[in-house]
Each structure stands twice: as structure tokens, then as C-alpha cells.
């Protein structure tokens, strides 16, 4: 049953006005994946934009319910493939929380370093792709050049370039080597100069500013009603960050700011992410300075993981916002229920409301500023 669309000819002030329906996607470069948006248009203006999801739905939650915790762990890095570290962090975190496994400090520090590197690499993809949407091709090449360095660093210790499975229940798969530590320090220096260049190249650019300033305003109230999080809610002036609100891992031991902007427009979300990269570099630098010695794996992690009956939640601040894993256990080896609450789903759910009455081109700028990863929505 398909709901009726407000299509057809209506007479407004004696002038016939016609609305028409067009599809944006499921294959469209601006949606960055297989997302379809059913647009009801009045000329260039959007009457209604309804996202249609599920084109790459893989039923990750069902997969979680028919295999053990260890068997499901690699799946978690395939939900948001740009922010895989934080997603595996949430899943190992929920098991460690339920079993009261103490993770050694060195492992927690390395988790923070790798998660923040992953956050920067994710933001770099967004930065390049967002500007590509707005018609600037060059930034993408710079962004991928810098991102490549992060991928090389992470590949050196994890063996994977994108879908990491580096965190294990109780610690890490393996310790980091000197090459990684040295390379990360060099990357911090390099990235700081590159971020300066990014600001000079893009942030002040008048064409860019005209496309994003006062475009796609999302109020805090809208964010709250739709459960938007991450840079979207911080671009609406509220410093909600899971690293502060529900402190986990070694984050309470580092000094960093939660960047916010109160303009609520696409530019605000852009600036929040740009500043987040600066803060991530700060966290990585502190973690490298204070990196404790010791093991990277807890003693006595049971071979067979059986969580006590009950339900457990663990939230992390992924690159796109709040990612929550909710496990319901009945005491067996296989979880009874695995719920994956992903940030992109909530962030996109406000699009229909936020895009009403916008120019189509502006709505695409708004969509780009939400930083969508479609497998994260569809799971």
C-alpha cells in the first residue's frame, strides 16, 4: 500500500501549479550509496522528500542471533565501513561490561589512538565527498592522500585497511610496534599543517560559503525529537558527545574539547567536523605521550563467552554519532537479541522534515552535511 502523494495540478492564485515525483537514487552519486529519496517537487522546490531505505539491508541483527559473540565480532566492522574501529569497540565493550573483564590500560590507550585515527580518516572521506557534491573536485584528492597515510598506519598493525577486527574481548589482537608509534607522531605533525591548508583552501571560500551558510537549518529541538547525534546535534549548539556523556575506555584521562556551533546550518556541521579532527589529533598526541607499558590482553578471558542473563548496553561516539549495542542474553553462548542502534538512521530520519520547501540543490548540500553511510542505515 503506497500512501497518496500530493501530485497533480492545483490552481494557486489563478495560476496552475503542478507537482511531480522524481527519484533521487537508488543509484545517484549524491546519495553516496544505494539510498533512494522519493522527491515530490514543485519546480525546483521540494514539497516532500521521503527517503526509502533497505536497498543494502543484510539483516546484521539476525546474524548476531545465530552465531557466538566471537563469530559476530567481524560483522560489526562492516556496518559503518568508514568508522569500523568504533563499531568493534562498542561490541567488545558490551561483552567486557557484562563479564566484568578488566582491559589493561595499554590496550585502552591503543584503542583510543586507533579509534581517533579512524575518526580522522572517516571525516576526511566525508570532507572530500561533501565538497565533491558541491562541485569542488580538488579537495577529494587532498583528503584521500592524507587518509591513505592513516590506512597505511592501521594496516601495519591490524592487517586490514577498512574492516578492522583489531579489538578483542579483553584487549587487542596484538600490540603496536615502534613503526606505528613513530608513524603516528609524524602523521600528527603533517595533519596539523594539512588542516591549516584545508581551512585556507576551502573553509573561507566564498562559493562554498554561499552553498552552505544558512542552508539546511536543523534546530536542537528537531535533533532531540529524531534522536540525531554526533556532529549533527553538535552543529545545533549542544555539546552531546558519548565520550563525555557516558565515559568509556580511557577517554576520561584525556583533555579535549567538544566542538560545537550554534548556527544549526550545514556550515555549522562542516565546522564541527573540521574542529573534531583537531581535537582527535590532540587526543592521539596525549595518548602517545602517556602510553603505559604492559600487556594488551586481559588475563583469564573465558574461551567460551557466556553473558549472564539480562540486557546490556554499550554506546560509543562513532564518527557519525552515537552507536549503541544492546545485547539481551539468556546465559547461552549465542546472544538472544543483538540490537544495533546506528547514528545514520536517526540522522537521516530528520531529512524529510528538514528538507521541506528547500531547493533541490540545497537539500543535497544538507544531505552531504549529514555524512551518511548507507550500510549503517540499512544494516
Amino acid at each position: 500500500m503506497i500512501p497518496k502523494e500530493p501530485t497533480g495540478v492545483t490552481i494557486v492564485d489563478g495560476v496552475p501549479r503542478e507537482t511531480f515525483v522524481i527519484n533521487l537514487g537508488p543509484q545517484h552519486p549524491a546519495t553516496h550509496g544505494v539510498l533512494r529519496v522519493k522527491l515530490t517537487m514543485d519546480g525546483e522546490y521540494i514539497v516532500r522528500a521521503e527517503p526509502v531505505c533497505g536497498y543494502i539491508h543484510r539483516m546484521q541483527e539476525k546474524m548476531g542471533e545465530n552465531r557466538t559473540y566471537a563469530q559476530f565480532l567481524p560483522n560489526t566492522s562492516r556496518i559503518d565501513y568508514l568508522s569500523a574501529m568504533t563499531y568493534t569497540h562498542a561490541f567488545v565493550g558490551v561483552v567486557e561490561r557484562a563479564l566484568k573483564i578488566q582491559v589493561p590500560p595499554r590496550a585502552e590507550y591503543i584503542r583510543v589512538i586507533t579509534s581517533e585515527l579512524n575518526r580522522i580518516s572517516s571525516h576526511l572521506v566525508w570532507w572530500g565527498a561533501f565538497l565533491l557534491d558541491l562541485g569542488g573536485f580538488t579537495p577529494l584528492l587532498y583528503a584521500f592522500d592524507d587518509r591513505e597515510k592513516i590506512l597505511d598506519l592501521l594496516e601495519g598493525i591490524t592487517g586490514a585497511r577498512l574492516t578492522y577486527c583489531y579489538y578483542r574481548f579483553g584487549g587487542l589482537c596484538n600490540d603496536v610496534d615502534d613503526q606505528f608509534l613513530q608513524g603516528t607522531r609524524e602523521f600528527i605533525t603533517l595533519m596539523r599543517s594539512r588542516l591549516k591548508m584545508y581551512r585556507e583552501l576551502v573553509t573561507g571560500n566564498i562559493i562554498f560559503r554561499k552553498r552552505v551558510e544558512e542552508v539546511g537549518t536543523i534546530t536542537f529541538e528537531t535533533c532531540r525529537k529524531y534522536g540525531a547525534s554526533g556532529p549533527v546535534i553538535r552543529g545545533s549548539g549542544v555539546p552531546y558527545d558519548v565520550r563525555r556523556a557516558e565515559p568509556y575506555s580511557a577517554y576520561p584521562e584525556f583533555d579535549f574539547e567538544i566542538p560545537i556551533r550554534s548556527e544549526c546550518d550545514s556550515m555549522a556541521r562542516y565546522l564541527v567536523r573540521m574542529e573534531e579532527m583537531v581535537q582527535s589529533l590532540r587526543i592521539i598526541e596525549q595518548a602517545l605521550d602517556k602510553l603505559p607499558a604492559g600487556p594488551v590482553m586481559a588475563d583469564k578471558v573465558p574461551r567460551v563467552l557466556k553473558l549472564p542473563a539480562g540486557d546490556y548496553c554499550y554506546a560509543v561516539e562513532a564518527a557519525r554519532g552515537r552507536f549503541l549495542v544492546r545485547i539481551v542474553s539468556d546465559g547461552k553462548e549465542i546472544p538472544y537479541r543483538v540490537k544495533l542502534r546506528t547514528p545514520c538512521l536517526s540522522n537521516l530520519s530528520l531529512f524529510e522534515e528538514a528538507s521541506q520547501g528547500m531547493l533541490l540543490a540545497d537539500a543535497l548540500a544538507l544531505m552531504g552535511s549529514l555524512d551518511l553511510v548507507i550500510p549503517d542505515i540499512d544494516r
Binding site: P3, K100, E108, P239, P247, S262, C313, A315, R337, K339
Partner: protein
């Protein structure tokens, strides 16, 4: 906004700070919070009393029970009747909570279907959970999308996966499953 010198810091933003540590006494980092050497399988001691409900939640007309955040990942949880989920959502909305997610749990052995509503507070960082159970044969819950419009997608997803009906929900097309899907894969009696 002065963009000639972009300074995306915290200056000039009239937003409240997150006093996360103040309201979450049990929210210390999960691993180091435990005293070392405590065996995971201690001899059966009487269960400790549940922690107190945070004041912001205790004031609401929802029967919240305190929960140990370091173990559970939320501060309070409440079980209500299916008919009361809208009132609970409205109370949490009034208190400034945001909708986190909605999901179902199929309790096949008990013949019940549970719906779990997760909320987070974007300013204080509090986490609240509201649950309700209905008979498994015909699980019906009123929609909370009038209170939280974001619930729409979560309820459609729950309907896809569990065949739980949300009365008042206007859009009945499948959300993630194919548009002609007649199966509900997260029901425990689902066979492919």
C-alpha cells in the same frame, strides 16, 4: 558568523555544558572502576540493592528502577503496560530526553513480545529505558511518533522484524525489508 578567521571552538555558543560526571556516579570507565582481584564468579552473596533512580527521572510519573550504569549501560529502567508507553514518552519528552531507539524482543517461551524504548538525555547524559510486553499472538502498542516523530522509522523497522503492530502508525510499507515481504525474520519461530 565570522569566517575570515574560522574558529569553530566553543566560544559564543549559548549551550549548556554536559555535567556528565556529576549526574552519573557509576559512569566511571567500565574497566578500571572494578577493584582488582575481584573474582567474576564470587560465592553467592545476597544481591546488592539497586542503585537509586537519578532525581531527574524519579520525579517523572514513570515507575523507574535504578540500574548500575557500569554493568548495564543505562541509569534507570521501567516496565509499563503497553497502553502507557505514550504517556512515558511524553513525560520523558517533557524532561528533555531524546529518542535513542526502539526495538523488540521475542520471548517465545513466555508467549510474549517485548518492546524496548531507549532514551538518552542530550544535556545531562542520562540513559533511560522503558519496556512493555504484550501477548505474542497479537502484539499491539500505540505509536509514540506523535511525541517523537523519529519513532516512525524505528517502529516500522520493529514491525518488519517482529510483526509488532503500532496503532496509529500511518506508514505501513516495510522499512528495511523488500516491499512485498510477508516474513518477520527476528521472530524466534522464523524459518527461512
Amino acid at each position: 558568523m565570522n569566517l575570515s578567521s574560522p574558529n569553530p571552538g566553543n566560544n559564543g555558543a549559548p549551550a549548556p555544558a554536559v555535567p556528565a560526571r556529576a549526574v552519573t556516579p557509576a559512569a566511571a570507565p567500565a574497566a578500571p572502576a572494578l577493584p582488582p582481584g575481584r573474582p567474576a564468579s564470587a560465592p553467592a552473596a545476597p544481591p546488592p540493592p539497586p542503585p537509586p533512580v537519578p532525581t531527574a527521572l524519579a520525579a517523572l510519573p514513570v515507575p523507574f528502577q535504578g540500574a548500575d550504569f557500569a554493568l548495564k549501560g543505562f541509569h534507570a529502567d521501567a516496565t509499563v503496560a503497553p497502553g502507557e508507553v505514550v504517556a512515558a514518552a511524553a513525560a520523558l519528552d517533557q524532561a528533555g530526553f531524546a529518542l535513542d531507539t526502539i526495538t523488540g524482543v521475542d520471548w517465545l517461551a513466555q508467549g510474549q513480545m517485548e518492546v524496548v524504548y531507549d532514551y538518552f538525555h542530550p544535556v545531562t547524559g542520562l540513559r533511560a529505558v522503558v519496556r512493555a510486553r504484550a501477548p505474542r499472538e497479537n502484539p499491539e502498542f500505540p505509536t509514540i511518533s506523535k511525541v517523537f516523530p523519529g519513532a516512525n522509522w524505528h517502529e516500522r523497522e520493529t514491525r518488519d522484524f517482529f510483526d509488532i503492530h503500532f496503532t496509529g502508525q500511518s506508514n505501513l510499507t516495510p522499512f528495511l525489508l523488500p516491499e512485498d515481504a510477508t516474513y518477520h525474520p527476528l521472530r524466534k519461530d522464523f524459518t527461512s
